[in-house]
């Protein structure tokens, strides 16, 4: 239902746009004529462009929509930050400040939980990235969930605590809930809990920055990592790395304001986790006492929305970066993205349309509209190329193509030369975008027909052959 609502609204927006365009000016025509390029080659070209009035109107509309969404989001988050309503925003900074005023609960410590399901291949490296931090964590606990490999031994060998889940049927969220249930009540006000995927490595400085942030602001409830992709997986890996670079850039431009507290690595104050567990079943969905909602496919996205709903202050500082695993095959990527997409839509369905979910609705609406726009674009290209037997140049549209190429390259710049080369070619990334659009449509269809959602797992040792999904939970870029 939720997917249909979003897709329906996007379709209505598209129809309205067309109606408005027909009302204000003549339709765009593609009628090629011949000319001479540099006076030598006979070329076929079409100079058709929208009339200036239509062009200005659509540019203004886009600018208005983008800045409108940003402004509304800023207003909503500011209102939440300044709230002192203990009923609606129990984690609002003012209230937290009042509760902790004059009480020194000791220095900030970090306890890391690493949920692991058959992660023997990457666990040792993950633990090493923690112990080698400039500010190493005080405690590391591997949460082994239904492992059939040597994950438990790898953990013990690395000298960290290992806790095995008991009778857990709710995957990662269920395993974490079991541990958090006894861990959180024992944590002091400043004893932060970090949840980190076993296929992820922290960059040095992550914990030092996080501890400094928690030390300087006792109202800060959570810190989310910024993830980028590990090397490898060829062009498919590069597509994902470019996507992640752009996401990180977006977050930096938002001054660290969080979209999603990524499951790859995020740190919470215990007060935040306690408030979530207490509010489940009433103010937010889920079972009272659970930190994670086990019904959510993307439990990190859900926890972010839960914390936002409770008014928590959170941030993604640019120094808190992590390297995460790339999906090595299209099939694995398909499964991962289908789960993210479905999870994001279902989370929105669970929370409904509220001011605090506004940004997420806008994002999904944007994706839905993007699917329609890109499909229309491909249809136009296809019909035109099948109806004309010669190459036609469109100077106006090629100029815009140049702008898109510049934008693609600049936004992926941090990814290095491979990233920039892939970006400037435009077409490959357009194909990747189409792939993601197909995933979106499949997600909407699956929700509509109530198909069982897949939560497959990628075993690192079998990468490339028959891997059918993955276990990490970074909910990424929109």
């Amino acid at each position: 239902m939720i997917g249909l609502i979003i897709f329906g609204v996007a379709s209505i927006a598209a129809t309205l746009l067309l109606a408005a365009a027909s009302a204000v000016g003549p339709r765009v025509e593609i009628a090629p004529s011949t000319g001479f390029f540099l006076g030598i080659w006979s070329v076929l070209y079409a100079i058709e462009a929208p009339t200036p009035r239509v062009a200005v109107a659509s540019v203004a509309l886009a600018a208005l929509l983008a800045s409108g969404v940003a402004l509304i989001e800023l207003r909503i988050s500011n209102r939440s930050r300044r709230s002192s309503d203990a009923h609606t925003d129990p984690l609002a900074p003012k209230l937290v400040m009042a509760r902790t005023r004059g009480v020194y609960a000791g220095p900030v410590t970090v306890t890391v939980l690493i949920p692991a399901h058959n992660e023997e291949a990457s666990l040792a490296q993950t633990i090493a990235s923690l112990t080698s931090q400039s500010h190493p964590p005080e405690r590391i606990i591997v949460v082994a969930d239904n492992c059939t490999d040597s994950t438990v031994d790898v953990g013990r060998l690395a000298g960290v605590e290992v806790v095995e889940s008991v009778g857990n049927t709710h995957k990662k969220a269920g395993a974490l809930n079991q541990v958090l249930r006894w861990l959180v009540p024992t944590q002091g006000e400043n004893d932060a809990v970090m949840i980190m995927d076993a296929d992820t490595s922290l960059d040095d400085g992550f914990l030092e920055t996080a501890v400094a942030r928690f030390t300087s602001d006792r109202a800060l409830m959570a810190i989310g990592g910024l993830f980028y992709g590990e090397d490898g997986a060829g062009m498919l890996g590069q597509f994902q790395r470019n996507e992640y670079s752009r996401y990180s850039r977006d977050i930096r431009r938002r001054r660290g304001r969080v979209f999603v507290l990524t499951g790859t690595a995020s740190i919470f104050r215990p007060a935040a986790l306690r408030a979530v567990a207490q509010s489940r079943g009433t103010a937010i969905p889920g079972i009272t006492g659970d930190v994670y909602d086990t019904a959510a496919l993307t439990e990190d996205n859900e926890l972010t929305i839960a914390l936002k709903t409770l008014g928590a202050l959170m941030i993604s500082p640019s120094q808190c970066t992590v390297v995460t695993e790339m999906m090595p095959t299209w099939r694995a990527l398909w499964n991962q993205r289908l789960r993210w997409q479905r999870g994001a839509l279902e989370n929105l369905g669970a929370y409904g349309m509220k001011p605090k979910t506004f940004r997420y609705w806008a994002q999904q609406l944007g994706i839905g509209y993007g699917v329609i726009a890109l499909t229309a674009y491909f249809a136009l290209i296809l019909i035109t190329s099948l109806s004309i037997d010669a190459w036609v140049w469109f100077p106006f549209w090629m100029g815009l193509g140049l702008l898109f190429a510049v934008e693609r390259v600049v936004t992926a710049w941090d990814g290095g030369w491979h990233a920039r080369l892939l970006a400037v070619a435009l077409i490959p990334e357009l194909v990747f975008a189409t792939f993601l659009n197909v995933v979106y449509i499949k997600g909407v269809m699956d929700i509509l027909f109530k198909r069982q959602a897949g939560w497959a797992h990628l075993t690192p040792t079998t990468i490339g052959e028959g891997s059918s999904g993955e276990g990490s939970t970074a909910v990424a870029p929109g």
Partner: protein, 77 residues
């Protein structure tokens, strides 16, 4: 030139007249508007993001030390 025009009239697989049909023009207009809108968004992503309000507004500055070891302030904000 003649060949080119002939090609144009017949098209590869579809008749060239389809390009002059009303529904095709509607599709072309829709794509044109979208392209312009997405181009605007692309341009906005390229330009530095301004936070004009924060340059002038004192409300963004914290009125008190919020660190974990801070002494109780006289007023809260």
């Amino acid at each position: 030139m003649t060949t080119l025009v002939t090609h144009l009239q017949t098209g590869a697989l579809l008749p060239e007249s389809i390009l002059h049909s009303d529904s095709f023009k509607i599709l072309a207009t829709f794509v044109a508007l979208n392209t312009l809108m997405y181009a605007t968004l692309a341009l906005m992503k390229l330009l530095p993001k301004g936070y004009a309000f924060s340059w002038f507004s004192g409300r963004n500055r914290r009125a008190q030390d919020r660190s974990i070891g801070s002494a109780p302030p006289e007023t809260d904000s």
